[in-house]
């Protein structure tokens, strides 16, 4: 199979970028999208050109390192899959594919398709945890948790922190990401003692990082590779409102 690629090239965070055309052929439909880029890079290196920088690591859809806006969609056309789990059989032979980095003010480009997502780490550092030091825990089964709650918490905890929600949102909002962590810990008794302060601190940090607001568009849910639900945002808003009232 053969493709025309239009790839965002940007030398570093300070320079301007642009789309550059490449063509690539002999692509096997069972190749992953990133393996297609590996082949392209291999060609570029052999020609003495600068290979395209892109983030990737586990290549099994769980580390959250890969990103890419592919023909206008975060992680490409396939529902509920990261870019590394996207296969070339999803693309029409001979077609044109646009490849761009995550576009958001809070995710500045480092080089080509690589962005800086450290804002997410700082949001977690603001409250995305239970404050329990090593050794302070009681026996695990002393705390029964209703199965349905544990399952819901797990649904939210499945977030891989890739940033697709931000990239997909016209407001560059990080609410799906933040609400997934707030929900996970709000649904579990372990998160109880800190739920108010957590909601306030994480939301404040999210705002400080420059992420936008939610206007109920739902693009984040539609593009989330782990199918994190919009209802988490509703829960976060509830948690935040409640915490604000109590804190007053």
């Amino acid at each position: 199979m053969k493709y025309n690629l239009k790839v965002w090239r940007q030398k570093n965070s300070k320079s301007e970028g642009k789309l550059v055309d490449y063509t690539i052929d002999s692509i096997n439909p069972d190749m992953s999208f990133l393996e297609m880029l590996d082949v392209l890079n291999d060609n570029l290196v052999r020609k003495g050109e600068d290979p395209i920088a892109f983030d990737h690591d586990c290549r099994e859809g769980i580390c959250g390192m890969c990103s890419l806006h592919i023909s206008g969609r975060a992680h490409g056309p396939q529902h509920a899959a990261t870019t590394c789990q996207l296969y070339m059989r999803s693309f029409k032979d001979g077609g044109t594919i646009y490849i761009e980095p995550w576009r958001a003010k809070s995710f500045p480009v480092i080089k080509d398709l690589v962005t800086d997502r450290s804002a997410f780490d700082r949001i977690i550092a603001a409250g995305g945890f239970v404050s329990v030091n090593t050794g302070q825990a009681q026996d695990a089964n002393n705390l029964p948790i209703e199965q349905a709650h544990a399952e819901k918490a797990m649904d939210a905890a499945a977030c891989i922190g890739c940033g697709a929600c931000v990239a997909a949102c016209p407001n560059s909002a990080a609410m799906l990401f933040v609400s997934a962590k707030i929900s996970q810990l709000a649904l579990l008794p372990q998160g109880g003692p800190e739920r108010n302060i957590r909601a306030i601190n994480m939301v404040n940090q999210m705002d400080a990082e420059g992420f936008g607001n939610c206007t109920n568009i739902g693009a984040c849910e539609a593009e989330c590779p782990k199918e994190i639900k919009l209802t988490n945002i509703a829960r976060m808003n509830r948690e935040y409102l409640l915490a604000s009232l109590i804190n007053e």
Partner: protein, 645 residues
């Protein structure tokens, strides 16, 4: 001949760890603040250690090459984590987990370490639950368990097919909390490229800032390497693309002995290789063997027909199928340990009964479980795994059996450490998969997560204190000290040589070649002849690499191709040590199968001559390493032929 001191505490097995803890030296809180600890790697071992040490009050610097500590490859572990909780009332105990681990490792691990691991396994589950890790629960709200290979009890705790992710996010949360509190300085997108030693003690590292390319110097009173395994020596493995051995290899070159480098684990259930373009192999959790049955056709003709697409699995009648694990190992069946299941798959395929076009694949069939439990129960048990398989292969495992084949997954070998997890370099520690210590010649499923967290949460906070208590008078050493300058210069020189070679072959060309040699000659089956040949080939390949590799770009920019080249340079040296070790070990045990040493197709161990840990001392890239032996003493377990029949 050996000077290795494993420092196993005196006393009965069950009391060794409490004896140690009761007598270990302590550091008072005011002094802890003045002591700096460097933690390299933020997987389960690294994140747990960095968080726990910061909670104690030490001043911690943590490093990872990924863009965030949450991305470390521990995140990809699927199936679960073992703990001797005996919540199932099925006869589990600390001793039994200890016993299973020693036996699973084919009697090549230390009793003292493994018992401690089994002991603290229970604390790990408590800690993780307290952090909000959403483990699977039954309807009463209590924790659920599943079975894993090599054990006859259900002791594996799990969070769908994403246990590693959830445990890592728990440890990552704890780490971020300490970062937020200012107790940990986090350096993401940094790769350690040198250990700095002063007067024989580890005193810091040189790290490459992967964004700017700059080499940076960091001081620490102690350095902890928690950098994972070296499976990527084989090019294709289940490891992440960035997983590398650079930190441990640099430490080895600075005097840390390397333990049992040839002990690698080939995992039986991975998606088979389909083409040359393939960049990595994907694991399908061992937990699938709870409900999946492994088989190939009894006849070569049927297998050939399947390979050629003339028949499908459904065309093969029950009587014409060979459920070879159930046939050969009736008491453990599909849940026999990984090394055994892998070798059995190889044997079936070598016999011409493989069922994928390359000939290297077997079926993992869920039809019977679906009949017994219903499709919904089977789907719920394995969360993401079925969609993941379907996505990669374009086949639905609920309708047609999965196709699987063994792939490199884990390395039991690693830096030699004593009971305190200290390497042979004072002040330099090694935790998790990066060390050699607990799994002997084969690791049981769901034990990697256990070891990483045991080392990070519950072992190192005690043992590092015992060392640092003697360091309280050492003021932070300024990084313009000659040792830092020299280490940085070494790193710089190597980097310049690499980038200025400007040869014709790409980094991947060399890496693939290396992987092919290792897989064919130091993989699932090894011979003296093959290994001898491999060593020569590797030496040749290394020469070629340094004269003909083409690394694009410059050193003072974000340059992933350079990072890769620098890692492959280290793999090329480490690969040779693995071959040397495999050649030295004239026996078969666990994942190390020497064709010359077998009995009825099963591994034949030689306890008389090889009941030791091989700890190798570096003497120069082109020089032979020196072997030091740590004899393994078994006082609580009877050495026996490891049988799962």
């Amino acid at each position: 001949m050996s000077t290795l001191n494993s420092k196993i505490p005196e006393g009965p097995l069950a009391e060794k760890w409490s004896n140690y803890k009761e007598h270990a030296k302590l550091v008072n809180p005011a002094n802890k603040r003045k002591l700096e600890v460097i933690v390299v790697g933020t997987g389960l071992a690294g994140a747990a250690a960095a968080a726990s040490l910061a909670e104690l009050g030490y001043s911690v610097k943590a490093f990872c090459f990924q863009d965030s500590p949450r991305r470390a490859h521990s995140i990809a572990a699927q199936g679960g984590i073992n703990a001797a909780k005996n919540y199932k009332n099925d006869g589990d105990s600390v001793f039994r987990l200890f016993y299973d681990t020693i036996k699973g490792g084919d009697f090549r691990a230390r009793e003292g370490n493994v018992y401690r691991l089994a002991d603290v396994s229970r604390n790990i589950i408590d800690q993780c639950v307290a952090q909000g890790v959403p483990f699977a629960r039954d309807y009463g709200g209590l924790l659920d368990n599943r079975s894993f290979g090599g054990s006859q009890v259900s002791r594996t705790f799990y969070a769908r097919g994403q246990t590693g992710q959830q445990l890592l996010l728990g440890a990552y949360g704890a780490l971020e909390r300490q970062i937020g509190l200012g107790n940990v300085q986090m350096y993401s997108r940094h790769e350690m490229v040198e250990v700095v030693t002063i007067e024989g003690k580890a005193r810091g590292i040189i790290a490459r800032n992967l964004i700017t390319g700059e080499l940076e110097r960091y001081f620490g009173h102690a350095v902890l390497l928690c950098t994972g395994g070296y499976g990527n020596v084989f090019f294709l493995s289940t490891n992440a693309m960035g997983s590398n051995a650079t930190a441990v290899w640099k430490a080895h070159k600075k005097g840390a002995y390397f333990g049992n480098p040839c002990f690698t684990q080939i995992h039986p259930t991975c998606i088979p290789v389909t083409g040359d373009y393939q960049s990595k192999l994907t694991l399908m959790s061992e937990s699938l063997r709870n409900d999946g049955r492994v088989w190939v056709p009894k006849s070569k003709e049927d297998a050939k027909a399947i390979r050629e697409g003339k028949k499908t699995a459904a065309d093969i009648k029950e009587d014409d199928r060979d459920y070879y694990l159930e046939r050969k190992y009736p008491s453990f069946g599909n849940l026999c340990p990984r090394d055994i299941a892998s070798r059995a798959a190889k044997e079936a395929c070598d016999d011409g009964r493989g069922i994928v076009p390359s000939g290297l694949g077997v079926f993992l069939d869920f039809a019977d479980s679906i009949k017994r439990l219903g499709i919904d129960v089977v789907k719920a048990r394995y969360g993401e795994l079925f969609p993941m398989y379907q996505n990669i292969t374009n086949e639905d495992p609920l309708k047609t059996p999965m196709k699987i084949y063994p792939a490199v997954h884990y390395t039991m070998g690693g830096l030699w450490v004593d009971y305190e997890l200290m390497t042979t370099v004072p002040g330099l520690y090694c935790l998790g998969e990066a060390n050699f210590s607990d799994h002997g010649a084969n690791r049981l499923g769901a034990s990697a997560l256990m070891q990483g967290l045991a080392d990070g949460y519950f072992v190192i906070p005690y043992t590092v204190g015992n060392y640092l208590s003697t360091e309280i008078f050492v003021k932070p050493i300024p990084t313009d000290h000659p040792a830092f300058v020299e280490a940085e210069n070494d790193a710089k020189e190597r980097a310049e040589k690499l980038i200025n070679t400007k040869g014709k072959k790409t980094v991947d060309d060399f890496h693939k070649e290396l992987g092919k040699i290792m897989w064919e000659k130091c993989g699932m089956a090894r011979t003296a002849e093959g290994l001898t040949e491999a060593r020569k080939q590797l030496q040749q390949l290394r020469k070629e690499f340094w004269s003909d590799v083409n690394v694009p770009g410059t050193l003072n920019e974000f340059n992933p191709e350079f990072d890769k080249a620098s890692r492959v340079a280290d793999f090329l040296e480490l690969g040779e040590l693995m071959v040397i070790d495999a050649l030295n070990r004239n026996e078969s045990c666990g994942g190390h199968f020497r064709e010359e040493y077998q009995e009825g197709g099963e591994a034949k161990r030689d306890d008389e001559n090889y009941r030791y840990v091989a700890a190798w001392e570096f003497k120069g890239v082109e020089a032979d390493p020196v072997l030091h032996k740590e004899e393994l003493v078994f006082e609580n377990i009877q050495l026996q032929v490891r049988s799962y029949k």
